[in-house]
Amino acid sequence: MKPIALRLILTTLTASLIILSGCAASRPQEGADPARRQIADVMAPEDKSLLTAYDPWEGYNRWMYNFNARFDRYLFAPAAEGYKRFLPQFMRTGVHNFMRNIREVLNVYNALLQARFRTAGRSTGRFAVNSILGLAGLFDPATEMGMYYQREDFGQTLGVWGVGPGPYFVLPLLGPSTVRDATGIGVDYAVWYYVNLFGYREWASDQFLVWPTLLYAIDTRANISFRYYEMGSIYEYLWIRDLYLEFRKFEIKR
């Protein structure tokens, strides 16, 4: 990503956070009858709510969740669907293997920082085997040899060392996250930037329309079955928020 684009995104993000963070409850019309069934009818005063997430920026988060949903519905998901329809399976698998292989560098350093040396060793082994025997990562012989892929990121690393998630934070285009995990994404990106593995990062950013990065995004999307607003609940934002936080706890444990 070009620095100028990054700055633009950060500015927009900060601005929208400030504008939208105040989160008004939905307001009935003046003079309307109150609802027949209210909180006091279903819940004793000392009882706990089912919603436990810390979400002080809910207004902004909801707006961004909805924005992401539109982006996904009209652009991102159709692109991924077209990709799946028109590129043969073996080519898509090659792309997927390749993208996972170059990401291995992030898995290794994070596993090391988490003091999970077996995971780090396995990821290093995978990288070596797949880069050489797997023809620069297009194939994945390592999995057949019993070395399975495990994704690690800096947000998980922070979590392993006891850093809490902080406020829930929906990122533009990337979706549900937290302040901790968003920081993690930034740190991972910086490492990715400076390591510049075999010059790949530099090469990719010089290509027409940065197509390798776009391909990475489409490959990622094509491998996630989640669809916005398909959960079947009008409260999808709240369910996804609480489930995302639970799922990150899973990932940190592993």
Binding site: A24, A25, R27, P28, Q29, I224, F226, G232, S233, F250
Partner: protein, 433 residues
């Protein structure tokens, strides 16, 4: 978007006793009704239902052109349904999803792939109780009364056929099937078609239908509320569930698909009791009821949990409505939303009238005499009140196939069940599947 939604499915896990073959020739694992419902069928006991490529099309219909699209729910502007077309002439089968479900989901996937591989054009429709159907295609917007809901489905089927499918597909015969609530609607659709003859359905199969929607819903209500009544208890249950699932997840090796195989493993390791499993099933149903309560309330302007005339902005905090609707069981949906709505147009209508119209009892005569409708059910289905399976056997005679176990739809993807289902329609999977 790293978040994988299948964690929801995984959260539907836990159960007891190691699965061993039972003393009969039915090879489905020896799980009780609750466990089978949660786990469903492990991969190695399913037939090979894999499909090459992506041979399906998502289509959409505007059912009520005069109904305005809600700004808050912009994404349900049309009714979407899924089509798996065959190349040449073939029979067409409509699939009806279960309570609260849209056109996708694990059970629907089983049906799509099985019928597609057996040579059918397959058309999958969401349940009238699902969020998208309520918004775009339900005439009442308070679903639950089977005759009205089935008329809504029939309208959608006719529109889909006349406006879209008839131009593309070469169809020999029409069939219909559905599971759970969609199974009960299948019975009604068969009767409706007998009168209107838009399709002349040759056969219809009801898979694990409730006999009385009201009885089944009360049972599902009780599974949650007999065990959990306060938010504190709910939090405790959720935390225990998540801790257990998290530990199992952390211990897994390799790529983890949080589907039946993972749940089966968790079940064998943890051996949760039936009370926990029942709570979990009740919780899943409560999420469906929560949505139905809220959407029906807003759409019919009933002022039940959301005051009439409330304008919700996309950024608004709706936590209060979330909590109130989460604690509104189906029983109250029926009593406080559905019945009053019907009484608006007919003040004399009673609870019992509507309970009757939400059951197969009101089409008993048709079910007894027709030879086109069959039923596939399980002895230990956890949504059935005592005596209801017997009633089905009495009414349907040898058109009823009752399996010794499988819970609620847990055995739908089991190979014997798939074989029986296809054979009912005179079809089978290709050799070697």
């Amino acid at each position: 978007m790293k978040f994988r939604f299948s964690v929801v499915a995984a959260a539907m896990a836990m159960a007891s006793s190691l699965a061993v073959a039972a003393d009969d020739d039915y090879g489905f694992p020896d799980l009780d009704g609750f466990a089978a419902t949660v786990i469903a069928t492990p991969k190695e006991l399913q037939p090979d239902l894999s499909i090459k490529g992506r041979p399906f099309r998502l289509r959409s219909l505007t059912v009520f052109p005069e109904r305005p699209v809600s700004k808050y729910v912009w994404y349900h502007d049309k009714l979407r349904y899924l089509v798996f077309p065959q190349k040449g002439p073939a029979p067409l089968i409509f699939l009806i999803a279960g309570t609260g479900s849209s056109y996708h989901g694990p059970h629907m996937t089983t049906l799509y792939t099985a019928f597609y591989l057996a040579g059918f054009h397959v058309v999958g429709l969401p349940s009238p109780t699902s969020f998208p159907f309520m918004m775009t295609a339900s005439s009442t917007m308070v679903p639950g009364v089977l005759d009205d809901d089935s008329r809504d489905l029939y309208r959608v089927m006719k529109m889909a056929w006349e406006q879209q499918l008839s131009k593309k597909l070469d169809v020999t015969d029409f069939y219909v099937t559905g599971y759970s609530l969609g199974g009960a609607q299948t019975g009604y659709l068969m009767m409706l078609d007998e009168q209107e003859k838009a399709f002349n359905f040759k056969k219809g199969l009801m898979i694990n239908p409730p006999v009385s929607l009201y009885n089944s819903a009360l049972l599902l209500d009780s599974y949650l509320r007999d065990n959990i009544t306060t938010g504190t208890e709910a939090q405790l249950f959720w935390r225990q569930l998540m801790t257990a699932m998290g530990e199992e997840f952390a211990n897994t090796q390799g790529a983890v698909n949080l589907g039946p195989d993972f749940l089966y493993k968790v079940y064998r390791n943890r051996r949760p009791n039936d009370q926990d499993l029942a709570t979990l099933i009740g919780l899943a149903f409560a999420i469906t009821a929560q949505n139905m309560v809220t959407v029906a309330d807003v759409m019919t302007e009933s002022g039940y949990i959301v005051p009439v005339g409330t304008t919700a902005r996309i950024t608004a905090d709706v936590s209060d409505y979330f909590i109130v609707s989460a604690r509104t069981p189906f029983r109250l949906y029926f009593k406080d939303l559905l019945v009053p709505y019907y009484q608006r147009s007919d003040p004399d209508i009673t609870d019992d009238d509507l309970i009757q119209r939400a059951s197969l009892y009101s089409i008993e005569e048709f079910l007894r005499t027709t030879d086109k409708v069959g039923v596939s059910h399980n002895v230990d289905d956890i949504i059935m009140k005592e005596g209801e399976i017997d009633w089905l056997v009495d009414v349907m005679g040898d058109r009823a196939r009752i399996w010794p176990r499988g819970g609620h739809c847990g055995n739908m993807a089991y190979r014997d069940n798939v074989e029986h289902m296809l054979a009912f329609f005179g079809a089978s999977l290709p050799e070697g599947r």
